[in-house]
Subunit: 247 residues, 2 copies
Amino acid sequence: MTSEAPTRSYRRLGVEERRRQLLEAALLLFAHRAPEEVSLDDVAEAAGVSRPLVYRYFPGGKQQLYDASLRSAAAELQQCFAEPPQGPLSRRLGRALDRYLAFVGRHDAGFSALLRGGSVVETSRASAIVDEVRRAAAEHILSHLDVEEPGPRLRMTVRTWITAVEAASLIWLDEDKQPPVDELRDWLVDQFTAGLVATAGRDPQTAAVVRNALALESAEGPLGALVRGVLPAVATADHLLRPGAAD
Amino acid sequence: MTSEAPTRSYRRLGVEERRRQLLEAALLLFAHRAPEEVSLDDVAEAAGVSRPLVYRYFPGGKQQLYDASLRSAAAELQQCFAEPPQGPLSRRLGRALDRYLAFVGRHDAGFSALLRGGSVVETSRASAIVDEVRRAAAEHILSHLDVEEPGPRLRMTVRTWITAVEAASLIWLDEDKQPPVDELRDWLVDQFTAGLVATAGRDPQTAAVVRNALALESAEGPLGALVRGVLPAVATADHLLRPGAAD
C-alpha cells in the first residue's frame, strides 16, 4: 500500500464509468440548484476529481453537462408515464401522477429553473427536450383513452391539462410542497376528468371516451368521490336545464 | 421646395415622437416574426430611418427594442382583462377572452416565440414581464369571483387555467387559428367552469363561489349550453353515486 493511492483512486475508473459518475454528480447538483448556481468546480468537487478531468470528459463545459443531465432526466421522466392499460382510468392516471410528482419533488430547483425559462442555460435544445417529454405524456394519455385517431378537441384537452400539471407542480414547489402530494394528485385527476367531461359537451368523440371511461369507474374510486363532492355545489343549477322557462 | 426634403423628413420629429415611431415599427416586426428573425436594419427600414438613428434612440440595440416592445405589448394585454363586475361570470370571462384572443391573433409569431422560450432574446427580464401579466390576469379573475381572501385551491384553479389558456392559444396558432376563435373562446369558458366545479368538490370556499356564480347564469347562456351538452355523456354514471351498492 502506498500513501498516494487514495487521492489518485479516480484514475482507476473506465471511460464510461467515469462519464457516468460525473453526470450523476452534475444531475444531483442541477436538480437542487438553479443552473446559474452550479459551477464546473462544484461538479469536480462533488465527483472528487479535478476540474481539468471534468473538461476532458465534457469539453463543452457546463452547457454540455447541463444538456446531458437534462437528457438523462427526460428519459427518467418518460419512464413515469408507463402504465398498463387496465382498470379505471382515474387509477392509472393517479399512479402515473404519483411517479411524476415524486420526480418533481426530487428535482425541485432544477425543475423550476428549467420550466420558468429566462435561465442562462435556457437554449432551444433545452426547450426541444421539454417539448418532447410533453408530447410523450400526451401520447401516453391518448393511448389510454383508446381512440384510433384523436381529434383536435380531444388532443387540445389533453395537452392543456399537461400544461396545467406543470403549472400546478411549479406552484406546489413554490409553496413548500403544499398541499400534501396525495391531495395534489387527486385534484389533478379531478381536473382531468372535469376538462374531459366539459369537452364531451361539444365533441362526440370525447363524449364516447367519457362514456367508456365512466363505465370503468366505481363509486369507491376517485370519480365517485368527485361526483358526490360536486353535487351539493351544483344542486342549485336546475334553472340552467330549461331554456325559455321562467325563473 | 427642395428635392432633398422628403428623404430627410424624419429629422423633423420630436424626441418622444421619434421614439414612439421606432417602437411601433419594432412592435409590428416582433409581433409577426420570431425575434431572431428581426434585425436592427429591418427596424430602421420599416421606420424609414437610418440604422445609426435607431442606435441613438436605443443604444442597447435589438435587446433594448425587444424589451421595450414587450413592455408595451404587456401593457396592451393587461387592458384586455378590464371588465365591469356585472352580469353572468361566463359572459364577463367570454368578453375578456375575446379581447385576449384578438391580441394573440395580432401578435402571432411574437407571442409564440416569447412563450415557447429558448429564444435568443429570452431573458429573465422577459420572463418577469410575462409572469407579471399572468399575475394580473389571476387577480382580475379572482376579483370577479368576489371572495375576500382566495385560498390556495381557488388560486391554483385560476392560475392553472391561465396556463391552459396560454397553451391552447399556442396550439391554436400552430393549427392556423383553428378552431374558429368563437369556438375556442367558448371551450375555454367551459374549461374554466369545469375546473372550478371540480375544485368545489374538495374546497368549501370554491363551492360557495360556484353556487353564487351559477345563480347569475341563465339556461340561454354558455353554462346552460354546457350543462345540456354534458348531460348525455354522464347520464350513465349513476353507479358512481352509491358507494357499496351492487352494480
